[in-house]
């Protein structure tokens, strides 16, 4: 048994080495870096330097507020949308199911730059189709990129477009694992379709929904692509700057690795904390 294990580990060594060098070490190292002043040469240990600055930095609070705002609005809306899409996908009345499934999944595999460019076009002030449509129903056109509220909305719409289908596919798998005869029993019990959805489907989907919510929260905490590419680096004027963007700006524009590391650890810590709260709230009654 011993020797078998040893042999197994020897086979695993190449992977473990790579894992240690490219995963473990950066994680540990960035943790150390967050306690160092990195604008001086050589770097010196100064625990309060980055963390102290973080606590008093308005840019940090701006990014934090934006990130949490997106999280609080976008994640629930997207999950609700994903559930509706999954239920529709699961309907026996639906034709060409495979096509829809592909269509729902497609946004995830579209290149980020291409998708951002298309969104910028669609939402452009004078030529965008969105403003044209709004105009046609009598709503004045919106300047999506110059005002904070529309810009935030745009980010949320874009993120939702990209990930709702992905979550719908996961929830669909959950839906299909609920046995049909449970619904038949409920039908015989004179429970309407709507009540079946709220009293049977939703409770039984809970584990899957929690899974999707956790994935989405982690993803949104790191949100970067959309505010970077669509609203041009968190514009207007930092109005859509997220923690991910702040990290990027500090780390790779200002080369302030210590501060960027502190931001990174804050993001990770928050994601873990929110996820734990979420899991605790949704725990199985014993």
């Amino acid at each position: 048994m011993r020797t078998q294990n040893a042999t197994a580990y020897r086979f695993l060594t190449p992977y473990l080495l790579i894992f240690a060098i490219f995963w473990i070490w950066p994680i540990v190292s960035s943790f150390m870096i967050s306690f160092q002043a990195t604008r001086t040469v050589p770097w010196r240990f100064a625990p309060a330097f980055n963390w102290g600055r973080l606590i008093g930095d308005p840019a940090f609070y701006n990014a934090l507020t934006n990130t949490l705002l997106i999280l609080v609005i976008q994640v629930p809306v997207m999950i609700a949308l994903a559930i509706i899409m999954a239920v529709l996908l699961n309907s026996p009345l639906l034709k060409a199911r495979g096509l829809y499934r592909f269509a729902f999944f497609a946004p995830v595999v579209v290149g980020e730059v291409a998708y951002s460019a298309v969104f910028r076009l669609m939402f452009s002030l004078d030529f965008g189709i969105v403003n044209k449509l709004l105009n046609s129903v009598g709503i004045p056109k919106i300047d999506w990129f110059s005002n904070v509220t529309p810009a935030m909305a745009l980010i949320m719409i874009a993120v939702t477009w990209r990930w709702a289908g992905y979550n719908a596919i996961i929830i669909l798998a959950g839906l299909q694992s609920i046995p049909e005869d449970v619904y038949e029993a409920a039908t015989l019990d004179r429970v309407s379709r709507v009540k079946q959805f709220f009293h049977i489907t939703l409770p039984l989907l809970k584990p899957v929904i929690v899974f999707c919510a956790v994935l989405s929260i982690i993803g949104t905490m790191q949100l970067f692509t959309e505010p970077f590419l669509i609203t041009e680096r968190g514009g207007p004027g930092g109005g859509t700057e997220t923690l991910g963007l702040l990290l990027y700006r500090q780390g790779f524009r200002s080369l302030n690795f210590g501060y960027a590391s502190a931001v990174a650890y804050t993001m990770a810590g928050l994601a873990i904390a929110i996820t734990l709260v979420q899991l605790w709230l949704m725990r199985e009654p014993k």
Partner: protein, 361 residues
């Protein structure tokens, strides 16, 4: 008052017709078992009665009222599913009361009904548990309890015992029988297991490939099957079928010659139609109707292949020419593989079938 009547009931899935005009009359309070091999349409029939499948043709009436277009919940039925179909996220108590709660039934009445069902099925102690924490037998009880709570006029069971182990199956069988006596309501029970059918039913409906082959009391089907299929399906171990030929018909009897047993002949009195001389027929003999040599009307030599000793009886699988026969012997511990012996057939204990499988009486 809840007799169930099926009149020319047809079921089609697309172009496939799976039930071909079933006519079944079930009296109020009767326990009727639909039995037949897998895929013969038993569940489909039951689900049509429940309203879970549309009726493609014919009428189904419950309590004298045609319910073809009545909502499942308004038919006065309750169904117990093969897989139990319990609500996994609810406790036993919630499972039992769910339907009533969803329909605004008065709380006191709901509680009374749940308590009564729990009492009948002795599941009072499980009320706080979830289905995951129950054994198969307990889940089955809860599923039956959920049906009882509805206080239906007709209970429908779809192979309710097939997921249980053999011992529990016997125990639950007895309980379902007891339940029928206690509640006195109509029960329709689907199974592929002829033992369950024989032990539970007031009357059995034998189905084959979407056709009703015969309807009758268990022992009537056993003694007087309408055709070779029913004869082979009812009774365990199965009836033996021996190829034979009519060699003479006279004096209201037919003389037949067995094909594979050295020209042995048997004279079988007949009441109805007489087959033509020379016609090929099949002689059906149940394992328990082989007698000791000389006791019957003709003897055939056999060679024991395998003997199964069950204690009270033994089943000897014997080769007789190209035909394998199952012979029941009372605790014949002496029979072992390779033994040569003779068995005897009594004409009155043998059934005659024509080549198509129809009974010749």
């Amino acid at each position: 008052m809840a007799a169930v009547t099926l009149t020319n009931v047809v079921k089609r899935f697309g172009v496939f017709e799976v039930v071909h005009g079933a006519n079944i009359d079930i009296a109020d309070g009767e326990f009727v078992v639909f039995v037949g091999p897998s895929g013969c349409g038993k569940s489909t029939l039951l689900r049509m009665i429940a309203g879970l499948e549309d009726i493609s043709g014919g009428d189904i009436a419950i309590g004298g009222k045609v319910i073809n277009d009545v909502e499942p919940a308004d038919r006065g039925i309750a169904m117990v599913f093969q897989s139990y179909a319990l609500y996994p996220h609810m406790t036993v108590g919630q499972n039992l009361s769910f339907g009533l709660r969803m329909n605004g039934n008065p709380k006191a009445d709901t509680e009374r009904r749940v308590r009564k069902a729990a009492e009948i099925l002795r599941i009072d102690e499980l009320m706080q548990r979830r289905p995951k924490q129950l054994s198969g037998g307990q889940r089955q009880r809860v599923a039956i309890g959920r049906a009882i709570v509805r206080e239906p006029q007709v209970f429908l069971f779809d192979e309710p015992l097939s997921n249980l182990d053999a011992e529990l199956r016997v125990q639950m069988r007895v309980e379902i029988s007891r339940l029928h006596k206690e509640l006195g309501v109509t029960m329709i029970y689907v199974t592929h297991d002829q033992t369950e059918a024989m032990t539970l039913a007031d009357r059995i409906v034998v189905l084959k490939a979407g056709n009703v082959e015969q309807i009758g009391a268990p022992l009537d089907l056993y003694d007087d099957p309408a055709n070779r299929f029913v004869a082979g399906f009812i009774g365990s171990p199965k009836m033996n079928f021996l190829s034979a030929k009519i060699v003479d018909t006279s004096n209201s009897a037919a003389t037949i010659e067995l094909a594979h047993h050295g020209g042995v002949r048997l004279r079988k009195p007949l009441a109805e139609a007489f087959p033509a001389v020379g016609a090929e027929v099949v002689l059906g003999v149940r394992p328990e109707h082989f007698f000791e040599a000389g006791e019957g009307d003709c003897d055939i030599p056999v060679k024991a292949d395998v003997a199964e000793h069950l204690g009270s009886v033994s089943y000897v699988y014997a080769n007789a020419g190209p035909e394998e026969l199952i012979v029941e012997r009372e605790a014949s511990r002496q029979r072992a593989s390779g033994d040569h012996f003779k068995v005897s057939i009594k004409a009155e204990r043998a059934l005659l079938f024509d080549k198509a499988g129809a009974r010749i009486r």
